[in-house]
């Protein structure tokens, strides 16, 4: 708000000083005319003129500074408008003068002086406005050196105002040398035309027109002033002649020079404007491709942006993108039909062109010469680019033009950059997809883990004849360890421990099948080998190629104190004999379920039995335990396991299990297990 007030004040000062100038100047002219010695000192009009100049100078300076956002054309427009106003007023006065005709008044010296002063005021206003605007243009993208030179120029000019303010006798050599100095500096400064490059084609045309009119106003103003001076000179010598005023003269020369220079520079820049604009568009397009990854939802969008940008950058008429997947290819086209594109591809193939279209070569190639022999196609030039993702060629970008020889080297370079960038975008996109997929997989694993946990029994079958405990802990990647118990009748309890090959959701799925089989077969009190045969038969149809289940199935008869069991490829049972305080592994024959997928499985499986005595311990486990590794890569192993059982033989199953798992963690040296630890311990009473 304060600057606004200052601007108004400056304008007021300008008007007042001008009025004072008119008053003093006219009175001096009048008194000389009448041969009376004037009371007004002769230096006063000059001082008033300089004050007027200063007021206007700061007025325009502040005014333009306020409009920081003015673009170049707006700036030129302001200059033009000021010039227009000045010229119109000047013309209006001339019109009045003409209407009055050649009366006594028009020849009267006071009238001529008044018209001259009005014109001078308008001209100076116009010049200072232009000067301030040119300053903005020249100092666009300034350097330190340029700024110094400009400051010197500006302050120098203002200094001459002081020189002119006093009635210093006119010294021609000083006047000339100062003028020459300012003209030279003005010329050097006029070489700064960086702003011209930033105008687009339309803006350049507008600027040319505005500058032309500005130059015209300048010339008209000068001509009018000169004419008036000549008519004044005939009658008096003591008027405020701007021609001895270094500031005004320098300003006129500088403003005119810069206007003409700008006009010429813009004119000669016109033909190359499109190149500059194109470069700018390339940068913008390039940015679009790079950013597409962040905003676009699919690879398809990246492809479409690539098509659009490359077409617009090289002014192609159409384009297509052939994306190869494992055995098929997909076409994305832009302003071209599928048929046209396939015709061209087929034609180039039939011509046996070893270019990028067949993806047999990685070189970007201009294949236009091969197109000339294709009848019935509107396209005459073709340019093809390979697109790489992780060093693998995933497709081809082809650009076509109806014009023959339509592509140059420059365009080839640009689009090749685009294609590379698109490759990177697609790669990023795929990586992101992969990360998402991983996240989904992890989520799936979590579900599988919950399922697996829920498949294990919450309660184990209890009996007066034995104590039982079980434990299962799975690694991050879910395995398929399974154990369960089922009471057949009062005297018989069946037990099972199994390990499903594979991991993740499939393992959990097979585990649930195994549970179903166990619960449906075990209750019929069938012999263990029969159980395995039937289980195998059932699983043949469920297990995919390469999957199998290892299991050991037991029937404990508490009446006969016997255990019947059958081992189908599962880890051998570790058994502790309390009678002679020894332990052994039951390395019986038997192959895993699902390994033989026909009736002959029966010949590979057998039932075994043994009598148990009080204090005997049966330790069932999965290979996760025996294969657990320590830091040195050694396995936990069978011997260590047997040794631990001998150590813990006097404890209850629950305690044995806790200690065993504790020792296992201690051995592996971390709580991060890499396989499933599952164990079931039965101690007979």
């Amino acid at each position: 708000m304060r600057t606004k007030a200052i601007i108004r004040l400056l304008f007021m000062v300008g008007v007042i000083t001008w009025l004072a100038l008119v008053f003093t100047d006219i009175s001096i002219v009048l008194s000389t005319k009448s041969n009376i010695k004037s009371d007004i000192p002769s230096w006063l009009p000059n001082v008033l003129l300089n004050l007027f100049i200063l007021a206007l100078y700061y007025y325009y300076r502040l005014k333009l500074e306020r409009d920081d956002i003015l673009n170049f054309v707006d700036l030129l427009w302001r200059v033009f408008a000021t010039g227009l106003v000045a010229t119109v007023i000047s013309l209006a006065i001339k019109l009045i003068e003409n209407l009055l005709g050649s009366t006594k008044l028009t020849g009267y010296v006071v009238f001529i002086d008044l018209v001259y002063l009005i014109n001078l005021g308008l001209m100076i206003g116009f010049l200072i406005m232009a000067f301030t605007a040119w300053k903005r243009l020249i100092l666009y993208q300034k350097s330190k050196w340029l700024l110094r030179l400009w400051n010197f120029f500006e302050w120098g000019l203002l200094f001459t105002l002081i020189y002119n303010s006093f009635d210093v006798p006119f010294i021609e050599p000083l006047f000339i040398s100062l003028l020459v100095l300012f003209v030279i500096i003005g010329l050097i400064l006029s070489g700064n035309m960086k702003w011209v490059a930033y105008l687009n084609f339309r803006q350049k045309w507008t600027s040319l027109l505005l500058l032309l009119l500005t130059i015209f106003y300048l010339l008209y103003g000068l001509f009018t002033l000169n004419f008036l001076i000549e008519s004044l000179k005939l009658q008096t010598e003591l008027f405020t002649n701007y021609k001895v005023h270094i500031f005004v003269i320098s300003l006129i020369i500088f403003v005119t020079l810069y206007s003409i220079f700008s006009f010429l520079v813009i004119l000669f820049n016109l033909p190359t404007t499109s190149v500059f604009e194109q470069k700018l568009e390339e940068v913008v397009n390039f940015q679009r491709i790079s950013q597409s990854i962040q905003t676009e939802q699919s690879e398809e969008s990246v492809y479409n942006i690539l098509l659009e940008t490359s077409v617009s950058t090289v002014f192609a008429d159409a384009a297509w993108l052939e994306i190869k997947s494992s055995n098929s290819s997909k076409l994305f086209n832009y302003k071209i039909t599928d048929k046209e594109a396939y015709d061209i591809i087929a034609h180039l193939n039939s011509q046996n062109v070893k270019g990028v279209l067949d993806q047999g070569s990685d070189k970007t190639r201009n294949l236009s010469k091969h197109l000339s022999s294709l009848k019935g196609s509107r396209f005459r030039s073709i340019l093809a680019f390979p697109i790489y993702v992780k060093g693998e060629n995933i497709g081809t970008l082809a650009l076509v033009k109806e014009l023959a020889e339509g592509f140059n080297k420059e365009m080839t370079k640009i689009v090749s950059t685009f294609a590379n960038q698109a490759g990177i975008s697609i790669e990023n996109f795929r990586l992101m997809e992969e990360a998402l997929q991983n996240e989904r997989y992890k989520e799936e694993l979590k579900i599988a883990k919950t399922v697996q946990k829920s498949l294990l029994p919450e309660m184990l079958e209890q009996d007066q004849d034995f104590d039982i405990a079980a434990f299962s802990e799975s690694a991050d990647e879910v395995g398929g360890d399974y154990y369960d118990t089922l009471r057949i009748n009062e005297k018989q309890v069946s037990l099972i421990i199994a390990d499903v090959s594979g991991k993740g959701t499939t393992a959990a799925f097979h585990m649930s099948q195994m549970k179903g089989i166990f619960h449906s077969l075990a209750q019929y009190c069938i012999e263990p080998d029969e159980f395995m045969k039937r289980a195998n038969q059932a699983l043949i149809y469920c297990l995919e190629r390469g999957s199998f289940i290892s299991a050991t199935f037991f029937i404990v008869n508490t009446e006969t104190k016997k255990v019947h069991y059958s081992r189908a490829g599962h880890c051998p049972v570790l058994y502790y004999h309390s009678k002679d305080d020894t332990s052994e592994y039951f390395r019986d024959k038997g192959i895993a379920l699902g390994m033989v997928r026909n009736k002959s499985y029966g010949s590979f499986i057998q039932s075994y039995e043994f009598n148990y005595k009080p204090g005997d311990i049966m330790l069932l486990y999965t290979d996760g335990i025996t294969e657990a590794k320590n830091e040195r890569g050694e396995e936990f192993g069978y011997e260590r396991l047997a040794g631990i059982l001998l150590e813990l033989k006097s404890l209850l199953p629950k305690q044995i299990q806790e200690q065993l798992i504790g020792k296992l963690y201690e051995f592996s040296g971390s709580t991060n297990i890499n396989d499933d630890y599952t164990t079931m311990i039965i101690k007979f009473k």
């Binding site: 090959s501 190629r545 290892s550 189908a568 880890c571 390994m595 396995e635």
Partner: protein
């Protein structure tokens, strides 16, 4: 990590398994055997002398070929297993389904008998 070396000896394709076979590297084993079958070999020898570990997934690969080999009359013999690897085969009962020789000489003899 597994490295599989292939070489042909006396009309048999010899695949030497070097390293460890787990769930992920079992795919490579599968591909190697499939390639050998695809190239029409009727005799395939698997050299396990540098095989340090095999997981159930790896065993599953051998298992999955048993019936196909029977149908196509392809003979496969494994040999040179260390004790630990041999134990893994035995526990699952695969030693009853596959022919396993002690060394290359024995394996060659076995494969000619099949």
């Amino acid at each position: 990590m597994i490295h599989i070396k292939r070489l042909q000896e006396d009309g048999a394709d010899v695949l030497a398994l070097i390293g460890e076979i787990d769930a992920s590297s079992s795919i490579e084993l599968d591909l190697a055997i499939a390639k050998s079958v695809g190239e029409g070999f009727k005799k395939i020898l698997i050299d396990c002398s540098s095989l340090e570990y095999i997981s159930s997934a790896g065993l599953g690969v051998f298992m999955s070929y048993i019936e196909e080999f029977k149908d196509k009359h392809i003979a496969m013999v494994l040999f040179g297993m260390n004790e630990k690897v041999a134990n893994t085969f035995e526990i699952l009962g695969l030693n009853e389904l596959l022919t396993i020789g002690k060394d290359k000489v024995q394996a060659k003899k076995l494969i000619n008998e099949l």
